[in-house]
């Protein structure tokens, strides 16, 4: 099992699905961000898996995964800063209240 690409891909697919459920189903904004991190990690796993099993992609996959991690960090920073800014206005971390964009 650990020697086949399919199992890693399916694993990452499941992780991505779990992340999707968490993003669509939780009320807390921070939970949504954590789910986003899960999804990004799933993508990372896919990239690394391809890098491991497909010879020409080996190094490229690693570099790309590295960059993805960096971008994820930046995005988490800004996202959490936004959530804290909104929290200061709305006094709640629940996204149900973040509906000022509708009428």
């Amino acid at each position: 099992m650990s020697g086949s690409l399919d199992s890693y891909l399916i694993l990452s697919g499941l992780l991505f699905a779990i992340g999707t459920f968490g993003f669509l189903g939780r009320r807390n904004a921070i939970s949504m961000l954590m789910s986003i991190e899960l999804m990004l990690n799933a993508v990372n796993l896919t990239i690394i898996a391809f890098g491991a099993f497909v010879k020409p992609l080996n190094v490229h996959a690693s570099v790309i995964a590295l960059i993805v991690i960096a971008v994820a960090a930046a995005e988490a920073t800004v996202g959490l800063a936004i959530v804290m800014a909104i929290y200061r206005n709305k006094k709640t971390p629940l996204v149900d209240e973040y509906d000022s964009m509708s009428e």
Partner: protein, 656 residues
């Protein structure tokens, strides 16, 4: 000579325009232009008429016309349509011209005095001139479309003049009623004109008559019926007679001119003018005669019990018009025109007389509040007596000759039932006319006290026309109708009707006084005499010069009218045989309900559907609006669903 023809209608038209534009500023002189215009038209019309009657050139026996210009040039299509403004005069037109312009002129002069105190006189004279123009266009037109134009215009003028005192509600309602009932007939006429055009491709009357034989027989019947339909409306025959009595709301000169002498004759003129059309459809002639004579007896029966002097005369007009249509229907064409002319004169005289009577008793129109006026308004009384004698049919006045010709024609052409009913109606006519005379002029006075002491004779501008009209009322019969069937009128009008008379096979036997004709004449005269005597006994008479004196017996009248059997008749007659109530129930009430139902349908279902579309759209929009929650998670769900759909689709396609 034919160049004079356009002048006849244009003079009153000019009078209308000038009086209409300038009348308001010069109300005192408003009548001058109008009266002079009509007098001038009378002069020109008389010249033209005399020449046409004498068959002088350029009229000859067939008449002549002039085309002024092409009104609707639409000849370039597969079904070309061409209508001109053209005028045509033949002996028939000439007879009508004489009647219309003479009575019109006298009515105009009469109105100077009658409307002297009315602030709207300028409007009155303007409308009168417009009416003269319309009627002359109707008579002089040479094609059906122009006749229809004149037809509608006289209807309009009738509306304007009946409702002249429009602040009075009854007048406005009567005017509307007249116009609407006329419209029903006009619709039939319009359909008839359309039928003529589809069958023959032309609307020029002489051309239509020449080729009418080529039309299939069902179409001939249809066209004749539809044209008669128009005549029924305009000349107030049953069942469209209901407007004429109410039209008495208008001023008396209007009643005299329009509803006695000219407009109601338009129907008779139309049928007479279209005699080739009717001759080709004998079935329709029977219908014409039936409706005519039925109207005659219906109207005469109502006149028995009416108390308004103008109403009695209005029903009398209906009755005499019925006579004319009966005459047309049985094939006695010239007799009908003869009766038209004589009736125009004596009915015009009677109406103007009644106007004079009403003027003298300060506007009172109820005969029960009159009486004993003979001594007080002698000229009016004398002329009205002449008119009554004429209409009753006492020889040798005009009514006798014309009525006798009609009855004789009915009898000899085989329409015995028409003769019988007409015979009875002659007696009824005499009775109710002398009832009118008795209640108005003879016997004790029932006039209101404060009106009584200023009963005065009318001014000369009013009595003048009365005297002038009394002359033809008296002698017209002798002049143009004697000897019967070979008199001047027959000679003049023979070329107009000979085609139809020959085709119908009713050869006119020579008048034989010692044969059937004489017997009929004597029978009619006897019945008339009996009726007059009965009327004298019941309603009184006072003619000192003839030694006739009798007191009215109102108790006897009451007792007779309360007798079993007669009481029901009296009731029916008094309520005009409930025609107005039937019309009211049928058209106003039920028609109103139908209209209300249609309104409900329109408002609820049609508007509901249209509004419903809007409501549904708004509702759908409101419901769809809820998609925009403003929450990112809902939008993300949408993205996820879309992603799944696309990916699954691709997967499915790739696997397949």
């Amino acid at each position: 000579m034919t160049a004079l023809l356009p002048l006849i209608p244009i003079l009153p038209l000019g009078g209308f325009v000038l009086t209409g534009l300038l009348g308001r500023r010069y109300p005192e002189d408003a009548h001058r232009i109008a009266v002079w215009a009509v007098v001038a038209a009378w002069v020109v019309a008389s010249i033209v008429a005399v020449m046409a009657l004498l068959h002088a050139s350029p009229f000859g026996t067939a008449g002549a016309g002039i085309t002024l210009w092409t009104w609707i040039p639409a000849n370039g299509f597969s079904h070309g349509f061409n209508a001109d403004i053209g005028l045509f005069v033949d002996p028939l037109t000439a007879c009508l011209l004489i009647v219309v312009t003479t009575i019109g002129m006298l009515v105009h002069v009469y109105s100077i005095g009658y409307m002297a105190h009315d602030p709207g006189r300028w409007r009155f004279f303007a409308y009168l001139n417009l009416f003269m123009f319309s009627m002359l266009v109707l008579i002089l037109a040479d094609n059906f479309l122009l006749v229809f134009a004149g037809w509608e215009l006289v209807g309009l003028c009738s509306y304007l003049l009946i409702g002249f005192w429009y602040p009075r509600r009854s007048a406005a309602v009567a005017a509307k009623k007249a116009f609407l009932v006329n419209r029903v007939g006009d619709m039939g006429f319009a359909l008839g004109i359309m039928a003529v055009w589809t069958q023959l491709g032309t609307l020029n009357m002489q051309a239509v008559f020449a080729r009418f034989g080529s039309v299939p027989h069902e179409w001939q019947i249809a066209i004749a019926l539809l044209i008669f339909c128009g005549a029924v409306g305009k000349s107030a025959q049953f069942p469209l007679h209901v407007w004429l009595p109410d039209a008495m709301e208008g001023p008396t000169p209007v009643s005299a001119l329009i509803h006695a002498a000219t407009m109601v004759n338009a129907g008779v003129y139309l049928v007479a003018r279209c005699n080739p059309i009717f001759g080709a459809a004998p079935e329709v002639m029977v219908v014409v005669a039936a409706i005519g004579i039925f109207t005659a007896i219906l109207a005469a029966s109502i006149a028995f019990t009416q108390t308004d002097i103008k109403r009695v005369l209005a029903y009398s007009t209906l009755s005499q018009l019925g006579y004319m249509f009966a005459s047309l229907g049985v094939g006695a064409w010239t007799a009908a025109i003869f009766h038209l002319m004589s009736h125009g004169f004596f009915k015009g005289l009677l109406f103007l007389d009644s106007g004079s009577v009403i003027h003298s008793v300060d506007g009172e129109q109820d005969m029960r509040k009159m009486g004993g006026l003979a001594r007080k308004i002698p000229i009016t009384y004398a002329t009205m007596l002449v008119g009554s004698i004429a209409i009753a049919g006492v020889p040798p006045l005009a009514g006798f000759f014309s009525k006798d010709e009609i009855l004789g024609g009915a009898f000899k052409n085989g329409f015995l039932w028409v003769w019988a009913i007409g015979f009875v109606v002659a007696g009824m006519t005499a009775f109710y006319m002398f009832r009118l005379m008795g209640m108005t002029f003879w016997g004790p006075s029932h006039v209101d006290a404060e009106v009584e002491h200023h009963i005065h004779e009318s001014p000369r501008s009013m009595t003048g026309p009365l005297i002038v009209l009394a002359i033809p009322a008296a002698v017209l019969g002798l002049v143009i109708g004697f000897p019967p069937e070979t008199g001047l009128l027959h000679q003049w009008l023979a070329p107009v009707f000979e085609g139809t008379i020959a085709a119908s096979g009713h050869a006119e036997a020579a008048y034989n006084f010692f044969g059937i004709d004489g017997a009929l004449a004597i029978a009619t005269t006897a019945l008339v005499a009996v009726a007059i005597v009965v009327a004298w006994r019941l309603f009184g008479v006072e003619i000192p010069s003839l030694g006739l004196r009798a007191q009215p017996r109102p108790d006897q009248v009451r007792e007779i009218s309360a007798r079993r059997g007669l009481a029901a008749l009296y009731n029916g007659s008094f309520h005009k045989w409930w025609f107005d109530d039937i019309n009211n129930k049928l058209f106003v009430e039920w028609g109103g309900k139908l209209a209300a139902a249609a309104f409900w349908f329109d408002r609820t279902i049609i508007d509901g559907t249209v509004n419903g579309v809007g409501t549904v759209t708004a509702g759908a929009g409101g419901w769809l609006r809820r998609v925009q929650t403003g929450r990112v998670q809902n939008y993300a769900l949408g993205i996820a669903v879309g992603l799944i759909v696309i990916a699954a689709g691709y997967l499915y396609l790739a696997i397949r």
